[in-house]
Amino acid sequence: MTAAPQTTPLASADESTASQLVPALRTAFVSALVAFGLSFPIISYHAESNINNELILIGRWPLSFGIAALVFAFVFLRQMANSDWRIWFDRFGSIAAGGMGGALVQAAREGEGVAPPSRARLAFGRWFGPFMLGLVIVFPLITLGLLGPAGSLKWINNYGVQIMIYVMLGWGLNIVVGLAGLLDLGYVAFYAVGAYSYALLSTTFGLSFWLCLPLAGFLAAMWGVILGFPVLRLRGDYLAIVTLAFGEIVRLVLINWVDLTNGYAGISGIPHVTFFGIPFSDDDNGFAAIFHIPFSPIYRTIFLFYLILALALLTNFVTLRLRRLPIGRAWEALREDEIACRSLGINTTTTKLTAFALGAMFGGFAGSFFSVRQGFVSPESFTFIESATILAIVVLGGMGSQLGVAIAAAVMIGVPELMRELDWLKAIFGEGFDPTQYRMLLFGAAMVIMMIWKPRGLVSTRMPSVFLKERRAVAGDLVKEGHG
């Protein structure tokens, strides 16, 4: 917990073990003491209201002793471990995080510029993306085939659609943060603008989803420009805080402008998605009746899945194409060095505003998809945590890497969602144990651990858009982004 890992030579293991014992014990004891101090009032006692609404204390001393003992054991073992365990942790971690075999171990070393890319690595890099895309495309059909209409609903909806929304949001924010290097902590504002645009336009004027979708994107883009304009001069942390403030202002206005938005209660009864005009209902003119298949709510979910997949792929396609255009190159140049950019005659105002507008537009698309999926919007869905989640996805994905963002979205959204499935843990920890309440706790801890372990994200190498003779990955350490 507190000391740096020992890097003793492997030879003379016995001797070093003996000499390590005392300091290791001492460090472990101090760490355990600190852990006990941290847990003393807040874990050892639980303040609870009794029937008379008076606070009473319930002692939980064994818990804090247990935590201290665990910390002691962990630090002691870590101190005593002979080889430098961090290397193994890194290697194991890159396999686990990529989840796709040993190629990523090599990738990690290539990322550090230690090893040249192997042929396997090149093939892996070429085929991994298309392979994953194929997998995602057939995902609803496979789950439907395996689990049937009733069993697969949860998987397609809670995992497939939910993850794809965040992939899309991640790719949208990637334009702003990953390409243009503008740290935006208020991205959820554009998501909210998109969601409320569709909700209000469809419930008030009865416009269809396909008409509202471009309108929502346009309105969000307008807001991107409006909110982007005042912050042109800001950079780094200041930019992050101002965009956070804007995001919160949008949410507070949604809460307080009751005449328009119905405040906390939100807008309900938003028309559901239709199959290009055919509703997913069990009527005679519904989707099931027309295609002569038994009615099931699964068809709507599958349609929603492909809809968000198409929207996400559109985002990806546009981003990839834009990167090759002058504007995309200007974004990346801006990310690397704003001063150099300006001195080379790039108009930083339009460059920044287009990045904000395009990122916001895709956020608006995702927002209007969100409201057509839920049929209900309220300000609760657009809190700061959402912005932080999307930003975390982009940063963990490696800021600029489309594939990295997709993997990070699957991990950051899928794993907390999987926590809901851990009901069997109740058998071990007793009935009162609720795994879902630890979701956000672990989410926050994961953000910290990922930053310490891989501050530049899962895919830290960068493929240059423009190159002289051959296209070579740029090692993460040589990339300077993130200060603009």
Binding site: M1, T2, V34, G37, L38, F40, P41, I42, Y45, H46, A47, E48, S49, N53, L55, I56, L57, L183, P230, V231, R233, L234, G236, D237, Y238, A240, I241, V242, L244, A245, E248, I249, L252, V253, N256, I339, F384, I385, A388, L391, A392, V395, Q437, Y438, M440, L441, F443, G444, A445, A446, M447, V448, M451, I452, P455, R456, K480, E481, G482, H483
Partner: protein, 304 residues
């Protein structure tokens, strides 16, 4: 006029709390150039620690004397919150020193989410009513519209002023303060001259947490209720205060805190309470856009 005077008193009380939290932001930003996003949640944690320690004193140890209990709660909360912030810095921020600029910010956001949910998990999601303390209220005017000043408000303002004086002395006149100011100016040069930079940064976090703990105790006494999400909005407002006063400047943080407290209170009483948080966020955005160096801060010079 009476109403104005009353709001002035309320605003200064609230502003004192914001000022105490703002110092933690401004010092950390000054020394390592990082927005310590988790500071608001450290403040919330300290209110919980204070609440539980107060209950241990009164319910388990049956301590009769309230002033003594208050002093013990204050010292214990300061010590334990400092330990927390020390550990947070040690685990979540120190490994990232020298990493790229966004890494500590993301780590701090993760820490903020972690602390909020940690308190929710270990202490439950419901509001915790703080024990009611006897609170004598002085009537200042005796007119039709009473202007009141409570013992709590006097206490909050006095403790703030005393702590600020002590703290000002620490930064301006001790070797520790000198080391801190040296690290603020040039960390590498300070290290070359024999200053333990890591220890200095740790102490900065410890001091920031101790002042946030004082604010936490005050918050608990003043509002009489604590909740796990009480850290975010006061945290952002305190950060606004730090920015408004000029980030990196200690008197600026206090001045900014008082201004934000006054603006919030007057906004609520003369306009509407619905948009009082919007007002705070707008001030934050406007200050950063038009006056990034704040009222008392030094303008940032960009080196190429």
């Amino acid at each position: 006029m009476d109403s104005f005077l009353q709001q002035l008193i309320n605003g200064l009380t609230l502003g004192s709390i914001y000022g105490l939290i703002a110092i933690g932001y401004t010092m950390v930003f000054g020394i390592i150039g990082m927005v310590n996003f988790a500071h608001g949640d450290v403040f919330m944690l300290s209110a919980f620690i204070a609440l539980i320690i107060f209950m241990i004193l009164t319910q388990i140890l049956h301590l009769g004397s309230l002033p003594l209990a208050f002093v013990v709660v204050m010292i214990a909360a300061m010590a334990l919150t400092s330990l927390w912030n020390w550990a947070i810095e040690r685990l979540a921020y120190r490994p990232l020193r020298g990493s790229f600029r966004l890494a500590p910010l993301i780590s701090a956001i993760g820490m903020s989410i972690f602390l909020e949910n940690f308190v929710q998990v270990v202490q439950g999601p419901r509001n915790k009513p703080a024990p009611q303390l006897p609170n004598h209220v002085f009537n200042l005017t005796g007119g039709a519209y009473d202007v009141t000043l409570s013992v709590r408000q006097i206490l909050i303002m006095i403790v703030t002023v005393v702590l600020l004086a002590a703290f000002w002395y620490l930064v301006q006149h001790t070797s520790l303060g000198r080391a801190q100011r040296a690290c603020e100016q040039d960390r590498r040069m300070a290290a070359l001259l024999g200053i333990d930079v890591d220890a200095t940064i740790s102490i900065t976090f410890v001091i920031g947490a101790a002042l946030a703990a004082v604010a936490g105790v005050m918050f608990m006494i003043y509002y009489g209720v604590v909740n796990f999400y009480d850290g975010f909005v006061p945290g952002v407002k305190a950060f606004t205060a730090a920015v408004l006063g000029g980030i990196g400047s200690l008197p600026g943080a206090v001045l900014g805190g008082l201004l934000i407290g006054l603006i919030e209170v007057f906004w609520s009483s003369y306009f509407s309470t619905d948009y009082k948080d919007v007002a705070a966020f707008m001030i934050l955005a406007i200050t950063l856009i038009f006056m990034p160096s704040g009222i008392l801060g030094r303008p940032e010079v960009e080196k190429v």
